[in-house]
Amino acid sequence: MSEKATVSITVNGKVHEEEVEPRLLLVHFLREHLGLTGTHVGCDTSQCGACTVHIDGASAKSCTVFAAQADGSEVTTIEGVGSQDNLHPMQEGFWEEHGLQCGYCTPGMIMSAINLLNENPKPTEKEIREGIAGNLCRCTGYQHIVKAVQYAAEKGVVR
């Protein structure tokens, strides 16, 4: 535990060089080291998707990746997706369609949904449901999330 590794990870366009324990999870690197607390932790068995971010453009569960493994990568978190004044269409969709209640699953859900549209810009309802099946939401029953993704797909957003 004592020997530390130096990692250089680009997060939301900004390069961060930090000394980390080899066992430090990427999600804790983001949350504790960088203060990017929009990425959440909902389980310890890699099943809930609350921690989903994009690594080099594809979605990944940041609780399943060591910070050291992300060395040299480009990571996008929910904070890098859009801002209050410039919402990403997927964020807009979640707002418009009531795709969230407590909001805890939401950042991970949005990251997965963006990834889904990147791969399949016009998904069917079934494809949306399958595409976000790796993200658990206990509040919404998913129907409004499906609508949120449809909203974003309608806007034709790939970013």
Binding site: L24, I78, W95, H98, C102, L136, R138, G141
Partner: protein, 790 residues
């Protein structure tokens, strides 16, 4: 801008308004407990028992204490010197329950020691380094054996493990003396044409709010005050309990529920980890944080349901139900938590369902076992009642060869019979059960679905239809029915610039009160939605409160907010009257103006009146300066929303896998403030209710080991498990509160669970199946199709 140029403000109440809460949540800027950082923050980790039942022989903390970065290690015995046994909220005798076990462990996951360290990873390492020597005792797992005292006693002094030995209720029971007269019951069963008799279980569930529990406690030495942030549904109750447990005044405690990631009942209870964090922060004079892992949550957060029933129903051949009797046995786990003992009494209360049954009797026993304690879980007692009653009604329909809708219609309490006092003593406020039934049948296309089912069956497919009707008790509730007090509190302030800031004791965790409450206040004052802000969750800001549970936010919290608003509005009218030289009764509040009725151009803006109220020269006679007031309110009765859920299911003949092909919901929650939010609440409830029926079950093995300890073994619904929900509602207002709102937070869980099981039994009826216990594990269904038992 002149009055004439001011935009006409849109109507707000009853409209689909986007949520105020969302921008911070969708951009990752919301602050949940785990997002908090304080200088010098230390981290807690708990060492938990691997044994279900045993005597603590020795705890060796030396290795943990020597690890660098470890500040403190405490066993239960050491903690007990500064923290007494935990209080509960029910009147039943209860065994002592310490935040950390002192001499015996009684469920897997019970804390045995706590570590305080400089960071979270270190705290975990140190907890893992603690050696615990436990002498195993036989685990008490089966509640019916436990009632015979087998195989062991969970607590000394609780004979036969009886937490609540025997509570009778309903027909023939004298509520004062608890004396029981069986004559009406015996007569009804003796004279019945048909008797239905079935043992049914309502299995144990893990609530699984997506945000696990968490707490930050910060005792400030010198100031002698503590601030405690917790993912709780009721910060004011937390404040009260923390003060009592620390032995300090309530004025020394500030409790804050920051953003809370779902509750579903499991964040009502005040937990040992919260007390421990508070006590340790005081002991060290430093802030401490504890965040639950999901694996911990499966063991250490209260479970829900787990009640079994021996159901007997008597009926005439025409489908008239003449008597219903339930022997209820609740497996409450190892300890009484805040509301543990009360939850099954809500099951009793609701056993009349939506039916005019002349004889209803329930007998309840609550039993301790070596499992995680139970407490409220979405619906808390009412889904259990609905499940038992609605399964029994379906069994009757099947027995008589009647349409399940007709059996229900035959027995409904009629629209003109309200208020209706049930055999169980509930006073149903209002209802129109037939209209919602008709709407659901129509929306589902019931007759056509029956044909489709029959057609599918003829093709050899396994298809079933299920219908269930529910009534729920909500808007809890007069103080007589709630140990915390059954009121709610609100404050309304018109700021100097005319903006409105309000506080509510209903602390939400996803329900959207910041939006719905702002809709109501804005409309009450005739101002723009954006000019109203709702504050909640912080006892330093919100003077008093109870909290969010029992679908009470709208019915109780909403009403008191309007009452506080009304007081301020009256006062504001006095200032406006003075400014306009008019009679205060002649004023109208609209479009951000206060003007004299009939001459809308002549008024003053909100900002003008507010500004005058804070610098009133001259002060109108008999009026105090300023515009701020508060209110308490409690309802005289609960509200009783209702509805009908219909599902269609197909079961794979080869694998036994069930799949829902249709879900239709018609719910009646009375007046609706924001239909989008109401739909969302019902969707979530439907998913949880369907989850219970189909895929969720907490399982313990015979040694009391928790088999379902993570999301690998315990499933909650995923997006592709669910079909599209077809939603509709009827509106039957309640006379209990002036808005006529009944509450909707739990409704979805009530009808969906029995509807799904009814569909499964219908699908399997060609195989002679009359009942199947939840969950609908494919293997179980497959066996039933092979002619074997479940």
């Amino acid at each position: 801008m002149t009055a004439a140029e001011r935009p006409i403000l849109p109507k707000l109440v009853g409209e689909r308004i986007k949520r105020r809460e969302d921008p911070r949540l969708i951009t990752g800027h919301a602050t949940y407990v785990d997002d908090l950082k304080l200088p010098g923050l230390l981290h807690l980790a708990f060492k938990r028992s691997d044994s279900a039942h045993g005597v603590i022989k020795n705890i060796d903390t030396s290795a943990a204490e020597q690890m660098p970065g470890v500040e403190l290690v405490m066993t239960g015995k050491q903690l007990a010197e500064i923290l007494g046994p935990m209080p509960i909220g029910t009147p039943f005798p209860s065994p002592d329950h310490y935040a950390i076990a002192t001499d015996r462990v009684r469920y897997v996951g019970e804390p045995v020691a706590v570590v305080v360290a400089a960071d979270r990873y270190l705290a975990r390492d140190a907890a893992d380094a603690i050696e615990v020597d436990i002498e195993e005792l036989p685990a008490v797992v089966d509640p019916e054996k436990a009632m015979q005292g087998e195989p062991a006693a969970v607590h000394e002094g609780f004979e036969n493990n009886l937490a609540v030995p025997y509570v009778p209720g309903g027909t023939g029971v004298d509520p004062a003396t608890m004396e029981v007269d069986n004559s009406a019951l015996d007569k009804a069963f003796a004279e019945a044409d048909v008797n239905i008799s079935q043992r049914m279980t309502n299995q144990r569930l893990a609530p699984n709010a997506m945000e696990p529990r968490g707490v930050v406690a910060h005792w400030e030495p010198g100031k002698e005050q503590i601030t405690i942030w917790s993912g709780t549904q009721n910060p004011h109750i937390l404040k009260t309990m923390i003060a009592a447990q620390l032995g300090v005044g309530q004025h020394q405690v500030r409790a804050i529920a920051p953003e809370v990631g779902g509750g579903f009942g499991c964040k009502i209870n005040i937990y040992g980890e919260e007390y421990t964090a508070a006590a340790i922060s005081r002991k060290l004079g430093a802030p401490v944080k504890w965040i639950e892992d999901r694996s911990e949550a499966f063991m250490a957060t209260t479970h829900g349901r787990d009640i079994l029933a021996y159901v007997d129903l008597a009926a005439k051949r025409d489908g008239t139900v003449t008597a219903l009797k339930l022997r209820l046995i609740a497996d409450v786990g190892a300890y009484n938590m805040l509301l543990t003992a009360a939850v099954p009494t809500l099951t009793m209360l609701m056993l009349n369902g939506t039916y005019d049954i002349p004889v209803v009797r329930a007998e309840l026993t609550e039993v301790f076992t070596n499992k995680t304690p139970t407490d409220a879980y979405r619906g808390a007692g009412r889904p259990e009642a609905t499940y038992f009653v609605e399964r029994a009604f379906d069994m009757l329909a099947h027995e008589l060869g009647m349409d399940p809708a007709d059996v229900r219609r035959k027995n409904f309490i009629k629209k003109d019979a309200f208020p209706y006092t049930t055999q169980m003593g509930a006073i149903y406020d209002s209802g129109d059960y037939e209209t919602a039934l008709d709407r659901a049948l129509q929306n589902a296309g019931w007759e056509q679905l029956k044909q489709e089912r029959d057609q599918a069956r003829a093709e050899g497919r396994i298809v079933g239809l299920g219908l269930a009707y529910y009534v729920e008790v909500c808007g809890l509730g007069p103080s007589a029915s709630l140990p915390t007090g059954g009121w709610e509190h609100a404050g309304v302030t018109i700021e100097r610039d005319g903006r409105i800031t309000a506080t509510t004791g209903s602390s939400p965790h996803g329900q959207g009160n910041e939006t719905t409450f702002a809709q109501m206040l804005a409309e009450q004052f005739g101002v723009a939605f954006d000019d109203v802000t709702i504050l909640h969750g912080d006892t330093g800001v919100v003077k008093q409160g109870i909290g969010t549970f029992g679908s009470r936010s709208q019915a109780v919290g909403g009403t008191v907010l309007m009452n506080a608003g009304e007081k301020v509005k009256k006062k504001m009218a006095k200032f406006a009257a003075a400014m306009l030289d008019a009679n205060e009764d002649d004023l109208v509040f609209e479009n951000g103006m206060i003007s004299v009725k009939g001459s809308p151009g002549s008024g003053k803006t909100f900002a003008e009146v507010a500004s005058f109220a804070y610098v009133p020269v001259p002060l109108p006679p008999g009026v105090e300066p300023g515009l701020s007031d508060e209110a308490f309110w409690e309802p005289e009765n609960n509200t009783y929303p209702f509805g009908c859920h219909i599902v269609m299911m197909e079961i794979d003949r080869e694998t036994g896998e069930p799949r829902l092909t249709k879900v239709v919901a018609v719910d009646d929650a009375g007046t609706i403030i924001n239909p989008m939010i109401v739909d969302g609440q019902i969707h979530g409830g439907l998913a949880q209710g369907i989850g219970q029926a189909m895929i969720e079950e907490v399982v313990y093995d015979e040694d009391g080991q928790l088999v379902t300890g993570s999301f690998m073994d315990y499933a909650i619904p995923r997006a592709d498990d669910l079909p599209w929900f077809e939603m509709d509602n009827t509106v039957t207002t309640t006379p209990v509160n002036p808005m006529g709102a009944k509450g909707v937070g739990e409704a979805g869980t009530l009808g969906s669970t029995p509807a799904v099981v009814n569909a499964a039994v219908d699908a399997l009826s060609p195989f002679g199946v009359k009942h199947v216990d939840m969950m609908l594990r494919p293997e179980k269904l497959w066996r039933l199709m092979q002619g074997g038992g479940a």
